[in-house]
Assembly symmetry: C2
Homo-oligomer: 251 residues x 2
Amino acid sequence: MTQPTNPNQQTQTQAAGETLAILPPGSTSRDVLDALSRMIDREGLRIGDRLPPEVDIARRLGIGRAKVREALTSWQSMGIVVRNKKAGTRLAAEVAANAIHLPVTMKLEAESLLRTHAVRRPLEVEAVRLAARNRSPQDAAIITTRVSELMQVYGSNTDWRPADDLFHRAIYEACGNPLFGQLIQQIQQGFKEVYEAPLGKPHLGHETIPLHPPLAQAIAEGNEAEATRLMDEILSIVEAEIRQVLETKND
Amino acid sequence: MTQPTNPNQQTQTQAAGETLAILPPGSTSRDVLDALSRMIDREGLRIGDRLPPEVDIARRLGIGRAKVREALTSWQSMGIVVRNKKAGTRLAAEVAANAIHLPVTMKLEAESLLRTHAVRRPLEVEAVRLAARNRSPQDAAIITTRVSELMQVYGSNTDWRPADDLFHRAIYEACGNPLFGQLIQQIQQGFKEVYEAPLGKPHLGHETIPLHPPLAQAIAEGNEAEATRLMDEILSIVEAEIRQVLETKND
DNA sequence: ATTGTTGATTTTGTCGGACATTATGTGCAA
DNA sequence: TTGCACATAATGTCCGACAAAATCAACAAT
């Protein structure tokens, strides 16, 4: 055992990390978790590494230990950290089976981009199939509107991803099962965080936008086969782009 | 608004619920959550209902408020409860987009059995496809062993579901992407909890067991089309059984 | 009579302190 | 060198107090 190369051992002479951002008094538990995330990033902590004792974190962030514990409890319930009496709080070696928090899980395993995409893919295709089958006329109208808005933005040189988000959310709405939207958006959120952090967020999926109008039409017409085929093609393109980005990064 | 029929208003004259089980001193946070679950069940609380103030819970369970808060924080981070200053802690009306905990979510919405099955279905099929494509020889051997064990147990009149679990876990292992296993098992866990509680757990999926040996063979042979077809058929049968159970329950 | 306002109350949020519990490590003795 | 007792450091738990905020009740104003 004898864990290797722990960078933050005794170099912190009670005032080393004091330059950290002190949280304002009205900060939520989410802010604490964000600050902890930044701290983990900055100090380059990996799976199994210890993070500072609760009292130190509290002092460095200018908050009470109760608040730190609340945040760590949240992470613990997600299986992100493991707490032990004297061993301190460590980043979890493996995620508990019954608890998932994709954003952090993925952040800890950056190579899992393709894995995450592989999970997202069947969910997206099935959501499109159900949307084509179950859409109401209102849903079809919303989807048509969203795709026209998307193409309008796409024509200009502004960021088209918010419009793309709205379009896909309309699909999740139309499929009649809120679990699809919840799961996919959870996956997407984790994807974005890990993707935009180290790779500088190139506009992924740009090539797929021209396929969106026929997808919307297929859903509106109730053409399940064509809709799922188009969605699968879109996701294939995205997957190829991911592989390309990963390869160019590995140079 | 004016929420209706809150059963636990002022009938508790400081000593009503005192007969609750007092937790032993060495109880974990999980125990507290279990006790809270039982309390919710016993008092018949629904979505939007308030649960007792933290100090009351602490007194009734014989623990400190810190322990109660830790447990509630865990639930809050899963989107199960919402906490407000004077409004108290309420069971969440809708699950936050970035936090999902299917077991409790489903327990609160029993009608979502089919929705959950609809999400599980494409994931299972894709996992089988990937397993047929990427399985190693060892994986194939394990799957073959598991299915033979399953059929052996199935022949006797003991409970075949543990063996069934092992078989499907072997598939998740073989597919080469741990996220599939994590997500599906999370979904399954929630499904079981909500299913077995109100419906008395009939042996769901009994009809599908004879389809498992050919499924295992298709995976071992790398026959993606046949494997996915069989898995889809299995899940169709399960879905039909779910519908039947729900209908007979609605009489 | 309805509406707006003000104030009291209740409940969660946060802090600090104290002690218990438990790994971890250290030093002494065999 | 090995084994054991003890010191130490970190989380776990409880308590008490106050802050903050949402709700409710009473009251005033239109």
